[in-house]
Amino acid sequence: MRSKLVLLLVLSLLLPLHVSGNKGGVGNGLEDMQCGGACHGDANQNATSNLQFNLLQPESVWVGQPTELTVQISGFGVLHDVDQVGVFLLSSTNANGDIPTSNGWEILSDGFGGVNNYIEYSSVDSPTLSHTWILRPDEIGQKTLYVSVHHGDNTGSNAGRPFSGVSQPFLVSVEPIPDNLPRLHPDYKPPTSREIGQTTELCIATIDTDDVTIEWREPLGSTYQANTAQAGDCWTAELPAALSASTLEWRALLDGEGPQQSTPWFSLTSVEPPWEADETALRLQSIAHVIFFFGLVLLVRKPNRVHEDSKQYETSLDDGPDFVSNEHPPLPPEGLPQGWTMEDWRVYGLDYLEGRL
């Protein structure tokens, strides 16, 4: 018995060691590099990813202006047979505090309707994966960015293990804005998501800009122009509603005294309306659950009085006439009541004699 118990305990302790990485992913979010080693599973299980990394950036990166940074990851299907992959854009590899927002960047768009530095692809269909972030630097100078991935592998000697990889540092030179450069206001934040069926009214604040043209397209599709008008401090335009969950891209062409500028293509993701329950009903049902299950435990049990009554009854039997040894109370002179059997008398006879029946 004891040996079986020990065996069971040992097996219970060994079981977690055979759980593989986080196959379901963790979802897009703001994640440090540490997550690439630890979120995925036990950091000691990680193998090194052989995927190749590149970071594409525009010729000039102006301080306070949106900048398009495209990450290219190659080697899928060749170096690793991958189903799901998580991609990080990092500003350091300290494994802590290395989200770009901690180092002078603002994330304006992650391309998936959010402002995260970590995004996940549920599948990769081509050898090279490209993904674009829109970032805005808030100070002049040299900045460093890294690309990191974590993923699994379906084949090879390390099949089933989690893989983690990080790129070499990519330098980004942030320059001061030239005089009279038509540009977006440094506080402008483009919308990143909306609900299906909703149109989007853009209100774009600009500086040193005489005219604005808004263009929109489906990803890699034909480009259309939206009607633009100036209203107070901003340029307005309406983007059409989406009929299903999809992504629309738009950009602004800015004209002024300086050379024409075009913003990056901003992604605008249309999603299903968020699920929402009645908060009052939820809280009330929570209280109802506590009371219901509390009551259930008490109500299905026999009340104490039954137990106590039986004790009292047994005590009274001890003090009363000794009919237990005779197996039934003494019969009345007229005999058994009409319709009674001896079995009935054995059980209910005492009550009959004491006038309770």
Binding site: L282, I287, F294, V297, N304
Partner: protein, 183 residues
């Protein structure tokens, strides 16, 4: 200042650890009781189960409240969070009932196994709640196969919750009144 999410992790681990210990002791208590009538181990298991359950129950409100505070958009915005809320309050109600019954109504007889079953069921509710938390935060847990709880919830209308509360309270009061009358 400690963040709500961090405090939620701490309080949740207290709740889960305590309830897991309590559940194990409830189950073992029933097993031991079936084999041997009165032994020291029975007493130890019974005491451990209820003390652990009490500790977990005391930590439960902190876990629930910190969990609500840690959810940026509120617990009512995700079926999974709603199910977590309902499961944890259900398990809390069971735990409260078990503790109260042990204090006021304990009967070391036929209802002992039912009592232990309720204790173990409250543990199951808490472990399932914790597992759903894993699904929510990491996208992966032992309950990954339970797709229903991620997308659906059995939310009652307000009037039905009020009716349930009223019926249960009435039943408890009636039983108490009935016990006093005949006791």
């Amino acid at each position: 200042m400690i963040e709500s999410a961090t405090f939620h992790v701490i309080s949740t681990e207290l709740v889960v650890g305590s309830f897991a210990l309590a559940g194990l002791c409830f189950v073992l208590h029933s097993f031991v009781s079936m084999r041997k009538s009165k032994t020291q181990i029975r007493f130890v298991l019974d005491a451990t189960a209820h003390v652990a359950l009490l500790f977990g129950f005391l930590a439960l409100p902190f876990a629930i409240l910190s969990g609500m505070a840690a959810s940026p958009s509120g617990t009512h915005t995700s079926p999974l969070l709603v199910n977590k809320m309902l499961l944890s309050t259900g398990g809390g109600g069971l735990a409260l009932g078990v503790l109260y019954a042990r204090w006021k109504m304990y009967d070391d007889g036929s209802s002992m196994h039912l009592h232990n079953a309720f204790g173990a069921l409250s543990t199951a509710c808490m472990l399932l709640t914790a597992s759903l938390g894993g699904t929510y935060s990491r996208g992966d847990s032992f309950t990954e196969s339970l797709t229903y709880v991620k997308t659906n919830t059995l939310l009652m209308p307000t009037w039905m919750s009020i009716a349930v509360i009223a019926i249960i309270l009435a039943a408890l009061l009636f039983r108490r009144f009935s016990a006093v009358k005949h006791g």
